[in-house]
């Protein structure tokens, strides 16, 4: 950095939501120490209050787009949208997870604290203005998540999943860091804005450091690919999804996807937009590999969590199709996709949590047999989730797919689009199979489903399911919001 570090109080004002959340986390950490296990509900409500308070702080924030701490931290509309949805999904996770964790003796303060720390990390990550902030946010996010996966320490499956996640995640972080070091070497700066200027320069007339930059880009893309969980860097996803407690899987499947989009956007567009010609092709290859591997392997799964894991891989392939467009419209489409996926996936995992509350771990697709006989309403909610994941209009998921297909077609990537739609048909098969099990098969236990008495959970799940249809019909405001964030009308 050329300018000396200076501290400006206004910088803290820009970071007020993060500061507030950090303060709240520290307070909850202290309060939780003095609570008896029976009083854990207090931690739950305090954590929810902290999340909601932070959302309010972001929503009322009228500061114009600016950077803080010498460009380390970016305060703009994109960060606002992403942070609100990161927090929103975390809040949803808290409501969905509480009863599930209670039933399994896992309702401990650490769950909330680790989730909140991870959320804080995600918020820093999506607002990052320099490579250091990217790494800082990412590590806070992922280290907390490793611990979350292992929260059920007596389960061998969970511990194994956590180990795998940690080893592969650390490897990915190493790759990312290595890539960053090359970029630093080529451009002489950690600031993404300055990198952007330098990278454009390097890809223009002056060819110096071209190779180094390209190498750095490859490693960055590898790191990003790991965090998204796109093929061929997807190996950890199925095991972690299956092994982690469903409440944690929900967190990984929703909050982390939005954060991963933020990271990819900051690094690729914010830092290396001048090399779009290079990374577009790379992302196209990753997208196609994910679409093919995710969708085809998902067919063979009998475990619903594992099936959703492979489905995630394919959905991240779709998301990359928005990114590879390399224009604000494309980024808005990808952001919309991340949000739509998070909202839809939370219904799917919420359905698993609901059934898991009735006394058994409802992980196999067959556990959903005859759900329509046992409880038509929640069968409908799951139907909406599956149809939305498959991309059937008029559900939310369809319009997200529409936008990324449009973005990829606009970028001239017809072959990616063709692969994507063929894979969407393959994907439709395994989502339909879940609907088939719920609606066409006869339940072994025909009694009505014993629903947990946890009304916030049931109401939020119903609302979340209905949102898939409502947002499918009226998605105008949401896409307009995304467009505005990227400066489009």
């Amino acid at each position: 950095m050329n300018t000396p570090m200076s501290f400006n109080l206004h910088d803290v004002v820009l970071m007020l939501p993060e500061t507030f959340l950090l303060g709240a986390i520290c307070a909850i950490l202290l309060i939780d120490l003095f609570l008896k296990p029976a009083q854990r509900a207090i931690t739950h409500w305090l954590s929810l209050a902290a999340v909601l308070g932070t959302i309010v702080l972001i929503a009322v924030d009228a500061e114009p787009a600016a950077t803080a701490f010498n460009g380390m931290y970016i305060h703009d509309g994109i960060a606002a949208v992403l942070r609100i949805f990161v927090l929103g999904t975390t809040g949803t996770v808290f409501v969905y997870a509480r009863g599930y964790l209670q039933d399994r003796g896992l309702h401990i303060g650490e769950f909330y604290l680790l989730s909140l720390f991870a959320t804080l990390g995600a918020m820093v990550l999506v607002s990052a203005g320099s490579l250091v902030t990217v790494y800082l946010g990412l590590e806070l996010l992922t280290l907390s998540t490793y611990a979350l996966v292992a929260i059920n320490r007596d389960s061998a499956l969970s511990s194994e999943a956590a180990m795998k996640y940690f080893v592969l995640g650390a490897l990915a972080s190493g790759m990312l860091l290595y890539g960053m070091s090359m970029i630093y070497g080529a451009t002489g700066t950690l600031d993404l804005k300055q990198i952007q200027a330098a990278a454009i320069f390097a890809s223009g007339d002056v060819q110096q450091h071209q190779a180094l930059l390209a190498f750095g880009l490859v490693f960055l893309v590898v790191g990003i690919g790991f965090k998204f969980g796109v093929a061929p860097f997807h190996m950890w996803i199925p095991d972690v999804y299956q092994g982690a407690p469903t409440a944690v899987t929900l967190f990984i499947g929703t909050t982390l996807k939005i954060a991963a989009f933020g990271m990819a956007y900051r690094l690729l567009e914010g830092g290396l937009s001048g090399m779009v010609g290079h990374w577009r092709e790379m992302l196209a290859v990753l997208a196609v590999a994910s679409l093919v591997i995710g969708n085809i392997v998902a067919i063979a799964q009998t475990n619903l969590k594992r099936m959703l894991a492979y489905s995630t891989i394919s959905h991240m392939g779709f998301l990359l199709m928005g990114l590879l467009n390399g224009t604000p419209t494309g980024y808005a489409a990808a952001m919309f996709y991340a949000i739509a996926y998070a909202i839809t996936a939370s219904v799917a995992f919420g359905g698993i949590l609901l059934l898991a509350r009735s006394g058994f771990e409802a992980e196999d697709i067959d556990d959903f047999k005859g759900l329509n006989q046992r409880n038509p309403w929640y069968a409908l909610v799951m139907l909406l989730a599956m149809a939305s994941l498959a991309g059937v209009p008029p559900l939310f998921g369809f319009f997200a797919k529409l936008l990324v297909l449009k973005a990829a077609l606009d970028a001239g990537m017809l072959w990616v689009v063709i692969v994507a739609i063929v894979m969407a048909i393959v994907g439709a098969y395994y989502y339909l199979r879940v609907i088939k099990v719920m609606y066409f098969d006869v339940a072994e236990d025909k009694s009505a489903l014993v629903l947990p008495r946890d009304l916030p959970f049931r109401w939020l799940l119903s609302l979340n399911g209905a949102a898939l249809l409502v947002l499918g019909l009226f998605w105008g405001p949401l896409i307009a919001w995304c467009y505005r964030a990227f400066g489009l009308s």
Binding site: V392, L405, K406, Y483
Partner: protein, 504 residues
């Protein structure tokens, strides 16, 4: 009378009504039945002003509603209907009433969900016929899949899961290519309006790609040979109501799609590749006719006969294209499109009636195998009378609606090529063969077994349902004027548009 929001009303009334019906709960089947019937009749009544209030002389889109739906991508909630749409909308509202009537005693499991699915399906199908925005069209077009998937899957026959998955995946496969074509058109026209897409100049090679994308979507829906194989499976396994809706309306959506998308948006490619469609149609008419002849399952036989009859629709549409483009023979082209449209409406009534009739005897015998029947006329004389009437219409006997459309198409095709016309006319023989043979084996002859001997004739509810179908079949057979008058001007506009060369 203010008819501005007529189309929205006809679309959303059954959808909201369907949601209400599903809320009645599984225990109160009769409440659900009466409520669903009430909503279906109300929808039919509400759709009548579309016919009376439509200015048929102008033939333009009327009852226009346009609101911004998604400003960011310029998608609009834009509805409108011309003569073609209105004819199909009325067919839909009419058939749905009869389907709900037909399901009265034959469905006992989860009645509320069954009826709700049909009402929601009705609203979505009307939406397809009324949408003027391509994205809205696609949403309705695909939205139909889920209710139909569930109808076949829950209330269907033994192999219902296979059939319904096949139905869904086939249709999804075709339509998603159409979606890519629509996105491409949107990116170039900057609008989802079908009218704007029709104005967009497109190079010949682009048109060819788009043409095949549309063909994938609509040929599977019609269905045309060789992508028809989902239809017999779906028909055989679907409950009676599902078969009726499938045959009477859903197949028509494919034909409607050709009229609204392929012909106006990619006319040059449609002309260039018309021979593909004409060949496929002729194969459907002749080959599928022979396939129908050897069926042992009544529903399968009628399903194959549907494929053959729908071949006439596609034949009529693309013959006329060739006529206009080659020789400027507008009059004959107009005859071809009219014939296709009349055939669509008429086939809607006839195939609906045939499947409803099969449902009537299936409810009594629980078998669809032709060999289990014989001599039904001895125990069910009234039913036999209806069955024979519908069969005559199915083979295109003059005086029934089946004759009108086929005759017009054959007449038009004669002006293109007498050989095509001869091949098409062959259907009159083969159609008569499989239909009359079916009648002979099921209705006439000695009483085949004890089950047939104990059959009871149709009850008043079934009589009402079959009479309504019979009335429509006869009315449009002897006096098709109301129908042709309704569609005349709209079809003229479509034919005139075919002259425009868009290639750049």
């Amino acid at each position: 009378m203010n008819l501005t929001h007529m189309l929205s009303l006809v679309i959303w009334l059954p959808i909201v009504g369907g949601a209400l019906v599903s809320l009645t709960g599984a225990g109160r089947a009769n409440t659900a039945r009466w409520l669903a019937l009430g909503i279906a009749i109300l929808t039919f009544v509400v759709s009548i002003p579309l016919y009376t209030g439509y200015d048929a002389a102008s033939g333009t889109m009327q009852f226009i509603e346009s609101y911004i739906w998604i400003a960011a991508i310029a998608a609009n909630y834009h509805l409108g209907a011309d003569g073609i749409s209105i004819a199909l909308i009325l067919l839909t509202t009419f058939t749905t009433v009869l389907v709900i009537l037909g399901a009265w005693d034959s469905v006992h499991d989860k009645v509320n969900q069954y009826l709700a699915a049909f009402l929601i399906l009705e609203g979505l199908m009307i939406g397809v016929f009324a949408a003027m925005d391509a994205l809205l069209f696609y949403v309705f077009f695909e939205g139909m899949l889920i209710p139909m998937f569930i109808i076949i899957g829950i209330w269907g026959g033994p192999r219902r899961v296979y059939a319904t998955l096949k139905f869904f995946l086939y249709t999804f496969f075709g339509s998603i290519f159409m979606l890519v074509a629509l996105i491409y058109l949107y990116l170039h026209a900057n609008s989802w309006e079908m009218a704007d897409m029709a104005k967009l100049p497109l190079s010949a090679s682009v048109q060819a790609w788009l043409f095949f994308a549309f063909l994938a979507g609509f040929a599977i829906k019609v269905p045309m040979w060789p992508v028809h194989t989902w239809l017999p499976d779906a028909h055989v396994e679907a409950p009676t109501g599902g078969s009726v809706i499938l045959a009477a309306i859903m197949l028509k959506i494919g034909g409607y799609g050709f009229i609204r998308f392929s012909l106006p948006i990619v006319p040059d490619a449609s002309q260039e590749y018309a021979w593909v469609v004409i060949a496929m149609s002729l194969i459907a008419v002749i080959y599928i006719g022979f396939v129908a002849l050897v069926q042992e399952d009544m529903k399968k036989l009628i399903a194959y006969s549907s494929v053959a009859h729908m071949g006439f629709v596609t034949l009529g549409l693309f013959i006329s294209l060739a006529l206009v483009r080659h020789g400027g023979n507008n009059q004959a082209a107009y005859l071809g499109v009219s014939g296709a449209m009349v055939q669509m409406i008429s086939h809607g009534f006839i195939s609906g009636a045939m499947f409803a009739s099969v449902g009537v005897i299936y409810d009594r015998m629980h078998t669809r195998m032709i060999k289990d029947y014989g001599g039904v006329v001895n125990t069910m004389p009234w039913f036999a009378a209806f069955w024979v009437l519908f069969s005559m219409a199915n083979c295109g006997l003059p005086g029934t609606s089946g004759f009108v459309g086929e005759f017009m198409v054959i007449l038009a095709s004669f002006q293109m090529n007498p050989w095509v016309s001869a091949a098409a006319a062959f259907t009159l023989i083969i159609g008569a063969a499989y239909t009359l043979w079916l009648v002979k084996r099921v209705i006439f002859g000695e009483v085949a077994n004890d089950h047939v001997a104990h059959l009871t004739d149709i009850n008043p509810r079934e009589t009402l349902m079959l009479s309504a179908f019979a009335a429509a079949v006869l009315l449009f057979g002897v006096w098709p004027a109301p129908l042709t008058h309704l569609m005349d001007a709209s079809i003229k506009q479509i034919v005139d548009h075919l002259l425009v060369v868009k290639a750049i």
